[in-house]
């Protein structure tokens, strides 16, 4: 077990290094560098002086030296300056991380609150009308692109019905810390969370339904029934114990999906998180922010995948091969 965890963690290190090299090279391929914009339109600074500063900052060094320095800084949380916002990138990100974490967390929780009961119902009572409705719903969830769904949700609930606010994460007129502020914040979360969660249920429902149908026919379930265990208990004590565990392991994959989904959902609802910041930064060619975001997201996904592999190997020892 320990050996597996160790090996899995070791695989992650070259992955992260490789990702950082790719991101660095992409950053180099983006037009402009740390000095672009800094002296733009300033007649007092001549081309020669800029060259001198470039030399001093090491921008003329070979790429691997620059890479080493860049990585060193990034590890310490220094991603340089944002040209557009004129402040350190780290500072800029810090203000948005909380919003994205909040959104992702609630989306994930709501997804499971919807998906787990539906999956169980669908698997336990196969081919009933409830199962058919759930399968149809799940089919829609699978087929619908997230941005189309989010837009339709916004149109329906914010514009046609006028129930919920759209845009931003809170009403700006309210003061932080008050009850109204809290309510407004929660209201602003409802639509983005639901838009993400309602169609993210697909894989969980599908997995649970298939797995329960499989488990139902296994010998240990037959034995339990033969011993006279009541049907409800057969599910709770026997089947679900086996079926639910791997869901914990899919968490890493769900997190990956959240990161992709957040780009669409945050930009549609103008929700001030990392995904929206990414789109804004790349539109305004604010490349230091873009680089930082791509690096952080990739690393997060790599770590997420590793964690889910490890969790899966704990709950299901058959995975621990090699």
């Amino acid at each position: 077990m320990l050996q597996f965890i160790l090996r899995r963690t070791l695989i992650m290190i070259p992955q992260i290094i490789l990702v950082s090299i790719i991101v660095f090279l992409l950053a180099k391929a983006m037009p402009g560098d740390a000095l672009t914009g800094a002296f733009q339109g300033n007649p007092d600074v001549s081309q020669e002086q800029i060259q001198k500063i470039r030399e001093k900052l090491g921008l003329n060094d070979p790429w691997y030296q620059q890479y080493g320095r860049w990585l060193g800084n990034a590890v310490q949380g220094d991603f340089g300056q944002s040209y557009v916002h004129k402040q350190p990138v780290t500072h800029l990100l810090a203000g948005k991380v909380e919003n994205t974490l909040l959104l992702s967390f609630f989306t994930l929780v709501v997804t499971y609150i919807i998906a787990i009961p539906l999956g169980i119902i669908s698997g336990r009572w196969t081919d009933t009308w409830a199962d058919k409705i759930i399968v149809t719903y799940n089919y829609f969830a699978f087929a619908t692109p997230v941005f189309v769904f989010a837009l339709l949700m916004m149109y329906l609930f914010s514009f046609v019905l006028g129930w919920l606010p759209y845009g931003s994460s809170v009403d700006i007129k309210l003061e932080e810390g008050t009850w109204d502020y809290f309510v407004s914040r929660a209201k602003h979360l409802v639509l983005p969370v639901l838009s993400g969660a309602l169609i993210a249920t697909y894989s969980t429902i599908q997995y649970l339904r298939n797995d329960i149908i499989d488990q139902k026919l296994k010998d240990y379930v037959k034995t339990a029934r033969a011993k006279g265990v009541p049907e409800g208990k057969v599910y709770i004590r026997h089947i679900l114990r086996n079926s639910l565990l791997p869901i914990a392991a899919f968490l890493g994959m769900e997190i990956t999906l959240m990161i992709t989904g957040s780009i669409f959902i945050e930009s549609i609802f103008s929700y001030p998180g990392l995904g929206f910041l990414f789109i804004q930064s790349i539109s305004t060619r604010d490349y230091s922010v873009v680089t930082a975001l791509v690096l952080i997201s990739s690393t997060a996904v790599i770590i997420g995948t590793m964690l889910s592999d490890i969790i899966l190997s704990i709950v299901d020892p058959r995975i621990r091969i090699e």
Partner: protein, 304 residues
């Protein structure tokens, strides 16, 4: 006496053929037996025909002409779905967008299918060390947040055109296919016909593409139908964000991207809502057909 034996043999072969219809036949039978799939197929054909044949009944020139006297007109008999910010007919744009989106989704599926097939076949056929290395690379590629990377590539590529966009998208769309084909190829390579062919000295490439591939083709077709919808979704999504098709080539995403200000979302719904609903309908149809194709390829799941 001899004659009758030959006739019998022919009859046997004919009987065998009737019992083992081609994949296309099975798919057709499966679709006609599933009302939803059949309905989806009919709807999809109607949408695609009206989109691809639109040059016959829509004046293409008028689609690019800006007419400021006609801006943001609500739907009417003349403009079925009203007009956009440049006074252009939304219905015409919708047809043009459907054509572009579907063509691009199809191209990406095809190229990605080819990439995935080659990669998966090589890894699965050779197995062992080569497979191990290729799979580690694939594992790495699969964890990358692809939407972010596609957007970054779209922005930094010089001379950005539709072709580059298709290539960038394809470059991030083949990972799942490669893995799927590799796992089947690994099973296949243990079978006698491959071993026999190898012993006879057939070149590896020939075995892979002319002997192994035909046996995996149903898998490839199923996977491609299922990912087609997804690829159309990714393209329209990226275009919606402004990082998809270049501005000269309208897609369904271009129309939806009008929905950026509250005023347009609420009061000029005819510009973006039809495109959003059309994407939804197309996705559902393609997926339904895909499910039928999937069932057709697996005898245990067939309805027909």
């Amino acid at each position: 006496m001899k004659d009758t034996v030959i006739v019998d043999e022919k009859q046997l072969i004919a009987k065998e053929k009737a019992n083992n219809p081609s994949l296309l036949r099975t798919i057709w039978r499966e679709i006609t037996h599933d009302k939803m799939a059949l309905g989806s197929l009919i709807i999809l054909i109607i949408i695609l025909l009206s989109a691809y044949l639109s040059p016959l009944y829509i004046d293409q020139e008028a689609q690019h002409r800006v007419n400021f006297l006609n801006v943001w007109k609500a739907p009417s008999a003349e403009h079925w779905l009203g007009t956009d910010d440049g006074g252009r007919d939304v219905f015409g744009q919708l047809m043009l967008g459907t054509r572009n989106s579907f063509t691009i989704g199809f191209m990406v599926t095809l190229i990605a299918g080819l990439l995935g097939l080659t990669y998966g076949l090589i890894a699965g056929f050779y197995g062992g060390k080569i497979d191990n290395i290729m799979m580690r690379i694939l594992d790495f590629l699969m964890v990358l947040p692809s939407t972010m990377f596609i957007i970054v590539f779209v922005v930094i590529v010089p001379n950005y055109t539709v072709v580059t966009f298709v290539l960038i998208m394809s470059a991030f769309a083949w990972f799942g296919k490669a893995r799927l084909i590799r796992s089947r190829a690994l099973q296949e390579r243990e079978l006698d016909y491959i071993n026999a062919s190898r012993t006879l000295g057939t070149p590896s490439l020939k075995i892979m593409f002319f002997e192994m591939f035909p046996n995996l083709s149903s898998l490839v077709i199923v996977n491609m139908t299922l990912t087609l919808a997804g690829n159309i979704g990714v393209e329209t999504g990226l275009t919606f964000l402004g990082f998809g098709l270049p501005s000269g080539t309208p897609s369904l995403g271009t129309l939806i991207s009008f929905a950026r200000t509250p005023d347009i979302v609420q009061n000029k719904w005819w510009v973006w809502l039809p495109a959003a609903l059309l994407i939804l309908v197309m996705m559902l149809c393609i997926n339904y057909i895909g499910q039928a194709v999937k069932r057709a390829s697996d005898a245990r799941q067939r309805l027909a």
